[in-house]
């Protein structure tokens, strides 16, 4: 009997390690021979720790399991138990998804290359090894894949620039500095299917002529760091990484680098400075990292999900991937449903689902049972959406058209207790804490913005106009998205929730 208990950080935060220990102890006490697999999460966080049991009859799930439930699960012989959920694939939240990037996440042992290969892994790399470098880049362009970190820049075009720039050394850098609140897709795939990221980076290296890769993981993700490091060692040992990738004439190797708690290092140029051992200060562009990136060399810098999606594109073909989606947003997007929701977790689906369907149907509304007031889409730099914009379909251009952004595709749901003036102030406070300090609109604007929100709260006339003007300056004058996009949450809160910025009404309510 094989028992799966996730090793994902969210599952562990909800007691998965204690459950795993209890299962080992209970099996030993009963003299049962079990194999315990610490898999990734299936992404249904409200059911974590989600324990799966595989017998000759198939694989069935139980959850959320606590250590004290373990005895009764064994007594019921993992059958007819109050926590029984049936097969994961039959749970509506899961059944409704299209899993391409996350197809293996939670299904396999993340640190078993054999498991990885048995579920379609390495097939993409083998296909890529049969192609010329130009064909590899073309395949990515054809797939329509765009940067999943948030900018949405076409991945193939970025790769082509690096491919076409001659240099003795080029780099593949994976941006795993997933600092946006409401996002955890990078963490989840690194903990649940690390080889797919390794494979994606290797294909990128072969495609653009880079032999060295770095995964820059934020220090807040110790579990992801550990899994990635172990997976890289295993891949090296198996000849997937090294001087001769799978016996080919291509060399590619990679290592993990750990961030140091600076949100701004998720911005690609400050990440490159950080990798070089400098302050994580944003660089002015041009030069583009694709031409002068890490140590001045041509560098592909892509988000975890962009790179982790590359293997499935080569496994199933660019056309297969491109056929999913909406408008210019092709393929699937792993949406992270977070905050005050009934069913939170990772929901991978083709672009195009409306925000309302996600919030009301998939997420099941709020956990508190109160009405949804606002949904912040795209992290701390994303806009707050009110209910009357819930028909916006999930896509880069579609959200842009509504004054927002999809960012790294995290959605954070707030109930009617949320005070949007406080949320606007928090956005500015966060910007002030995390600003790298290089450009004035961000460094000073964030602080002045906080003060101005306080003046609005105290009912000072003219303060709202001042905030609007300041936000325009930050938007137009900042070097990077931190200062440039902080106006999104601030101004969306102002325009969609004006009552919260009206001091007299607020005081009346209190």
């Amino acid at each position: 009997m094989k028992i799966f208990v996730p090793r994902d950080a969210a599952a562990k935060a909800l007691g998965a390690d204690e459950v795993a220990n209890a299962i080992t102890a209970e099996a030993a006490a009963r003299g049962l021979d079990i194999t315990l697999v610490r898999n990734g999460t299936r992404g249904m966080v409200w059911l974590e720790p989600l324990v799966e049991v595989e017998t000759s009859a198939g694989r069935t799930a139980f959850g959320p399991v606590t250590a004290t439930d373990v005895k009764s699960l064994f007594e019921a012989e993992f059958h007819r138990h109050p926590l029984a959920l049936g097969a994961v694939e039959t749970i509506p939240f899961f059944a409704r998804q299209t899993r391409l990037t996350f197809a293996r996440c939670g299904l396999i042992d993340p640190l078993s290359l054999a498991d990885y290969e048995a579920h379609g892994g390495i097939a993409g790399l083998r296909a890529a090894l049969e192609m010329t470098s130009a064909e590899i880049v073309e395949e990515v362009t054809t797939s329509g894949l765009r940067g999943r970190g948030g900018a949405g820049f076409p991945t193939g075009i970025k790769w082509k620039t690096v491919h076409d720039t001659p240099a003795a050394q080029k780099y593949i850098v994976c941006n795993a500095d997933e600092g946006d609140s409401g996002t955890f897709a990078d963490r989840m795939i690194m903990e649940g299917d690390p080889f797919t990221l390794i494979e994606g980076m290797t294909i990128a290296g072969i495609g653009v002529g880079a032999t060295k890769g770095y995964v820059y993981i934020r220090s807040e993700y110790p579990d992801a760091i550990e899994v990635m490091q172990r997976a890289i060692e295993l891949a090296r040992h198996a000849g997937l990484l090294g001087p001769s990738v799978l016996g080919s004439h291509h060399a590619f190797d990679m290592e993990v680098r750990v961030g140091a708690g600076a949100y701004v290092c998720g911005e690609e140029t400050s990440l490159l400075n950080s990798l070089e051992g400098k302050r994580g200060v944003v660089r002015a562009k041009p030069p583009l990292p694709a031409i002068q990136g890490l140590f001045g060399r041509p560098t592909v810098i892509n988000n975890v999900i962009s790179l982790a999606t590359v293997p499935v594109i080569f496994e199933k073909g660019a056309g297969h991937y491109r056929d999913f989606g909406l408008g210019r947003s092709r393929g699937t997007i792993p949406i992270q449903i977070a905050g005050n929701v009934k069913y939170g977790g990772l929901f991978e689906t083709a672009f195009g689902m409306s925000l309302g369907a996600l919030v009301d149907e998939v997420a099941g509304g709020t956990f508190t049972g109160r009405p949804v007031k606002a949904v912040q889409v795209g992290g701390p730099l994303g806009a707050y959406f009110p209910r009357d914009k819930f028909d916006t379909p999930f896509g880069y251009e579609e959200f842009d058209g509504e004054g927002g952004l999809i960012g790294h595709a995290g959605i954070v749901v707030f109930d009617d207790n949320a005070d949007m003036l406080k949320m606007a102030r928090f956005a500015l406070e966060f910007c002030a804490v995390e600003s790298c300090g290089k450009c004035t609109p961000c460094r000073l604007g964030a602080v002045r913005g906080m003060e101005t929100v306080d003046r609005i709260a105290s009912g000072e006339p003219g303060a709202l106009e001042l905030l609007t003007d300041l936000c325009e300056t930050m938007r137009d004058g900042s070097l990077c998205a931190l200062g440039g996009f902080t106006p999104y949450p601030v101004m969306s809160a102002v325009s969609h929730f004006p009552d919260d910025f009206n001091a007299t009404r607020q005081e009346a309510a209190e």
Binding site: A9, A10, K12, A13, L14, V45, W46, E48, E178, G179, D180, S181, G182, T183, F184, R187, S219, E220, Y221, P222, R257, V258, G259, A260, G261, A262, Y263, S274, L275, E276, G277, K278, R279, G280, V281, F295, Q336, I337, A338, G339, N340, V341, G344, G345, L346, F367, Q376, P380, G410, V412, V413, F414, D415, A418, M423, F426, F430, V433, E434, C436
Partner: protein
């Protein structure tokens, strides 16, 4: 004498850490992480040695250590409690959890209790956004916290 030998032990260990990271491209952050893992902070006394080894100035290193939230100039308390302040945790009651922890310990953010037991720090996202409010106590993650649970956790840390 004791001070001298402590200083030479520090120099010895820093030198070993520098050697362990030889050959890395951009070795400064990995070196600083290793030194902090060893000593609990980045001691001032280590800076000249790193500066010499990497052929950069002490000011460059100070610029780096002061830029990143992770690097400490002084050791933290015996236990470190990091509480998420970001939006997703706020949406599920994070502010009340943070207030409960701070008032129970009688400190504000970044402070250590007078007995040196617990340091409380804000963190902006632990990636536990679907099971917030979240915190990390000495590296262990906790999700779905409420005021009672965080008070128990910080109480245990302080004991």
């Amino acid at each position: 004498m004791a001070e001298n030998s402590a200083a030479s032990a520090l120099a010895q260990r820093v030198s070993e850490i520098i050697v362990e990271h030889e050959g890395l491209e951009g070795p400064l952050l990995p070196i600083l992480h290793a030194i902090q893992a060893e000593f609990g902070h980045v001691p001032d006394a280590a800076l000249p040695q790193i500066a010499r080894a990497l052929n950069i100035s002490r000011a460059d290193i100070h610029g780096v250590t002061s830029f990143y939230h992770d690097f400490r100039e002084h050791a933290a308390g015996r236990h470190v409690v990091k509480i998420c302040r970001a939006e997703a945790c706020q949406a599920s009651g994070g502010n009340a959890v943070a207030e409960a922890a701070l008032s129970r310990l009688g400190v504000t953010w970044h402070e250590t209790t007078p007995d040196g037991a617990v340091t409380v720090e804000p963190v902006y996202c632990l990636g536990l956004c679907a099971c917030g409010p979240a915190a990390m106590v000495d590296g262990k993650l906790h999700g779905r916290l409420d005021a009672d649970r965080i008070e128990t956790l910080v109480g245990e840390a302080r004991a």
